[in-house]
């Protein structure tokens, strides 16, 4: 982005936030973290087996449960819905034509939207963290045997778990940004997303060898975090990402590049 655009960035992000006030994209962002935390809470509240071992920090276990539920059930569908709903606000308002008459490059405006989408996702993840902490303390109040209040949150481990979850979903986000821009539509990307998600479940269940390269499979594989991080590594050693994560990032980069090219060259009829 050129310097002038960077200077305007905070102001333009504010403009994006005004745009999404009370839209489904905004409500989904506010809601998904709370929903996942509720699932984890109910699971721990009702299931005695969820009790951790004595003298072990329960927060790690609690956040791992959130990661499992998130990646297995919600990550794919939430990112599909959120991305489609996010871009649909512009399509519904037929706003591209007027936005592109403003003194901003098309690619910059499009990338601003992608950037704002990531802010939304990070807000959603932050709400998830807060909801998990609050629900953990409520759980501790009702079932003191969990001992949440005796331990502090292992932040490094927790943020690492959530970061791996987010990376596993990048491919899906990239594909759905491209589909939203290509079809300027809400339903078609959602239908493709549902098909992709179901196909992902089937391929993971079959342990298909090409799962590494199928973006909808990657979040599901990330359920088993240990395997997701350590198996299938072209580059061994600490600090490198697994092939699943690299594949997800590559999907994202390719799809965003294609969407940017599509958008900058598109005639606005």
């Amino acid at each position: 982005m050129p310097t002038a655009m960077l200077r305007k960035l905070p102001s333009l992000i504010t403009s994006e936030f005004i745009k999404y006030k009370w839209t489904p994209a905004w409500l989904l962002t506010l809601g998904f973290g709370i929903m996942i935390a509720c699932f984890v809470y109910i699971g721990h509240h009702t299931d005695g087996n969820a009790l951790g071992e004595i003298n072990q920090n329960p927060w790690g276990r609690y956040f791992s449960a959130a990661h499992k539920i998130w990646t297995a059930l919600f990550l794919g569908p939430i990112f599909i819905l959120l991305t489609s709903a996010f871009f649909f606000v512009e399509h519904k308002a037929d706003a591209w034509k007027i936005m592109y008459t403003h003194p901003v490059r098309r690619a910059d405006y499009f990338l601003l939207k992608v950037f704002t989408l990531f802010i939304f996702i990070l807000i959603g993840i932050s709400i998830l963290i807060v909801a998990m902490i609050v629900s953990g303390h409520i759980l501790n109040f009702i079932r003191p045997e969990y001992e949440f209040s005796y331990y502090s949150i292992p932040w490094k481990e927790t943020l690492s778990i959530l970061a791996h979850g987010l990376i596993s979903g990048l491919g899906v986000i990239g594909v759905h940004i491209f589909l939203s821009m290509r079809f300027k539509n809400f339903m078609l990307p959602i239908i493709i997303g549902i098909i992709g998600f179901v196909l992902g479940i089937i391929l993971v269940a079959m342990d298909f060898s090409l799962n590494t390269y199928f973006p909808y499979s990657i979040p599901l594989i990330a359920q088993d975090l240990e395997m997701f991080i350590t198996d299938h590594r072209t580059f061994p050693g600490d600090g490198w990402l697994s092939n699943f994560e690299i594949s997800s990032i590559v999907w994202f980069v390719i799809m965003i590049s294609l969407a940017t090219i599509l958008e900058t060259r598109r005639p606005i009829h």
């Binding site: 305007k8 102001s11 333009l12 504010t14 403009s15 005004i18 745009k19 006030k21 009370w22 839209t23 606000v89 519904k92 308002a93 037929d94 706003a95 034509k97 007027i98 592109y100 008459t101 403003h102 003194p103 901003v104 490059r105 098309r106 900058t264 005639p267 606005i268 009829h269």
Partner: protein, 306 residues
């Protein structure tokens, strides 16, 4: 302000919408850009606004040649393109806020433009609940937000009721009073005549006419007719027959005249002869007839040059 030379554009190969278009919009003018539906007005405007890429020719705005996707050249242009675009779940102030951030415009300016277009009493209402006229006015407010020198309004009277059309006309006249240059597209000649200082008529991707409103009046007066409802049509034809082309339908006569000054002698002759006159109407070319006249003249000129 806007200078277009030899602009060509085609959506499909071999089917040009714009075919060597030349436009000259003078500084401070209200330029009425006329053409039938589908004549290429919106395509021309989208080329000026860089929403479409010209296939050949040049476009200059404020003396600078525009190239594709050059944002700085759009700073001094405000636009309303066909049906205005809004975020319907937001009110007018929020909609204007969104656009204001691109220009670093403050809250006071938002209030000002809402006042200019007369939407201040409706700022709390969600824009999806706005009438067509209110939407068009909000579209103009967005175009005005950054106080541009040039405003391009594509069919701003589209879908408006007569009251809305009058309000829009008033707004456009106010803009000229503020020293803006306004390019205004429409397919309604009478509407353009009421506000424009200059007119361009687009026909088959080219300018069939371009000039001041007075020059257009001269062209129109070349093909005037007089419509008369009389009590004795046959008698009236006999009185007026010499040198006049007259057609009759029931008690309605249509008499070709060359200028408005021909009307009083005709009426005087009929009154003197005792013909009862119930209705007198000067009929000017409508846009379609004007096109036909102009294109016919073009062909004749081409033949005479050959």
């Amino acid at each position: 302000m806007i200078e277009i030379n030899n602009l060509t554009f085609a959506y499909e190969r071999g089917k040009p919408i714009l075919n060597g278009l030349n436009i000259h919009v003078p500084d401070g003018s209200i330029y009425g850009f006329l053409g039938m539906n589908g004549s290429g007005k919106t395509t021309s405007i989208r080329n000026i606004l860089q929403l479409l890429k010209p296939q050949s020719g040049t476009i200059q705005v404020n003396g600078n040649e525009i190239s594709n996707n050059s944002p700085s050249q759009r700073k001094h242009v405000g636009a309303l393109i066909e049906a205005p675009s809004f975020y319907g779940h937001l009110d007018a102030t929020d909609n204007l806020h969104i656009h204001s951030k691109f220009y670093g415009v403050g809250r006071n300016r938002i209030k000002e433009v809402l006042d200019i277009v007369g939407l201040t009493p409706h700022i709390k209402k969600k824009t999806r609940k706005y009438s067509t006229g209110m939407k068009q006015r909000l579209g103009v407010a967005i175009a005005l937000l950054h106080d541009p020198k040039l405003l391009i309004l594509d069919e701003p009277a589209n879908g408006l009721d007569p009251k809305g059309i009058i309000e829009m006309r008033t707004t456009i006249q106010q803009l000229q009073d503020m020293g803006k240059t306004v390019m205004l597209s429409s397919h309604l000649l009478p509407e353009i005549e009421k506000v424009a200082t200059h007119v361009g008529i687009l026909h088959q991707g080219k300018m069939a006419f371009q000039g001041t409103i007075e020059e257009l009046q001269n062209v129109k007066e070349k093909d005037l007719s007089l419509s008369l409802k009389v009590g004795q049509p046959q008698k009236a034809i006999e009185i007026l027959a010499a040198g006049k082309s007259i057609s009759k339908k029931h008690d309605l006569l249509s008499i070709e005249i060359s200028k408005a000054d021909d009307i009083p002698p005709i009426i005087s002759k009929l009154v003197t002869a005792g013909v009862d006159i119930y209705e007198v109407k000067k009929v000017e070319n409508n846009l379609e007839e004007l096109f036909l006249t102009m294109t016919h003249e073009e062909k004749e000129n081409a033949h005479s040059h050959a």
